[in-house]
Symmetry: C2
DNA sequence: TATAAAATCGACCGTCGGTCGAAAATAACA
DNA sequence: TGTTATTTTCGACCGACGGTCGATTTTATA
């Protein structure tokens, strides 16, 4: 009852790495089982299908990210920084950035898109909390929080994935964030320093 | 030199329809050639690969949409309405709405995403023109027009595809559009009536 | 040690995207 | 018109892929 779970995790890790390195569509089951050193039947003993594996891989990723986000949620950071922290929690972990950059936005459309959709699903309720807190503190001012938060997330995803806002252009992003949430101009300015400070910097070997 | 081109267009139309009806990934070459009543070799005489067919199909779609957008661009509509017209030009034609709804957002991730990316590419320069016109008329007020327009487009795509803003929620979208472009509150209010007026209404059998 | 359950194996299958050389249809030229 | 080029069509065939299944080995249970 323990051995099986360990093997499944092992396969999951291999699949995760290969999906990211070569893309979901370009990774064959044969390659995964070769890497794992098992027979095909064994693989299908643990996973219903290739797509089920993808879902499981994504579950694994999202679970970790939600964990980080909830940690950020419980800190005593000022609301604007907390907001950014939660959003940032859903970016791939620091040590995996390199790998992810290689394929995340370029190919691997299916996986990339599925991940982004799941992130929106999971992050919206958490961010809604933060924004509500901000409203009660008079920092934000808006209605329809969920819809706005959803848009904020989608914007942020495109900002990271496509690298739309580079260098000084971040100001545009900051401005849009403030206006979407009804924050006073300048409230989110710290984002600019955060990004130029290197926290969000991507090694731009792709695109 | 004529016959060949006609056949290619015929295959393109079949592929287009099937890609939309059943999704790109779920449509096999065998099904396409069966529908067309030709042999596989003939198919590959006209298309390098399945993906090349997808690109050609998308080209066909985008070409038509760009045409409609440029028409809208040359009208003497007031800038805010012109802006919306151009954006709306990139929605699937009225008579195809039904088909598109069935699969557009649900499955068919790859095609859907590729189409959306192409739309952003093609529509940004056109919309930038409109916004610049609006700025010179004092209707909009912003810098970094291209980035803002790109975000506006991405927001609009999600609005249509996911149906985020339904009914009265459109106000949120309108508000965000105004703020992103620096328009006076109320400038884009007519969008609300446009949508509730049925122009943008989708038959929500999907999702 | 006998038995049940969990885990592993790999040959096999149908489908898919794609290739290729030959044949048929069409155009160009004499 | 007959003859040669060119364009178009054909379908058998290929390798890779995702997935199945009954047999077999390993492990837990009593």
């Amino acid at each position: 009852m323990k051995k099986g779970e360990r093997r499944k995790q092992e396969l999951l890790k291999i699949a995760y790495r290969m999906f990211i390195e070569k893309g979901y569509e370009n990774t064959s089951i044969d390659e995964i089982i070769a890497e794992a050193g098992i027979a095909k039947g064994t693989y299908y003993y643990y996973f219903e299908s290739k797509e089920a594996t993808l879902e499981a891989v994504i579950d694994m990723m999202i679970e970790e990210e939600v964990g980080r986000a909830k940690e950020a949620l419980e800190t005593s950071l000022p609301v604007p920084k907390k907001l950014v922290s939660v959003i940032y929690s859903f970016r791939p972990a620091q040590d995996e950035q390199g790998i992810v950059n290689a394929l995340d936005a370029k190919e691997n459309i299916v996986m990339h898109e599925k991940v982004n959709r799941r992130i929106v699903e999971e992050a919206v309720p958490l961010l809604t909390e933060v924004v509500e807190e901000g409203i009660s503190q008079g920092i934000f001012e808006c209605t329809n929080i969920e819809k706005r938060v959803k848009m904020l997330l989608i914007m942020s995803q495109h900002m990271f994935d496509d690298g739309i806002f580079t260098g000084r252009d971040v100001e545009v992003y900051v401005d849009m964030v403030e206006k979407i949430l009804g924050a006073k101009s300048g409230t989110m300015n710290f984002i600019t320093e955060l990004i130029s400070g290197g926290v969000y910097v991507r090694t731009d070997d792709n695109q």
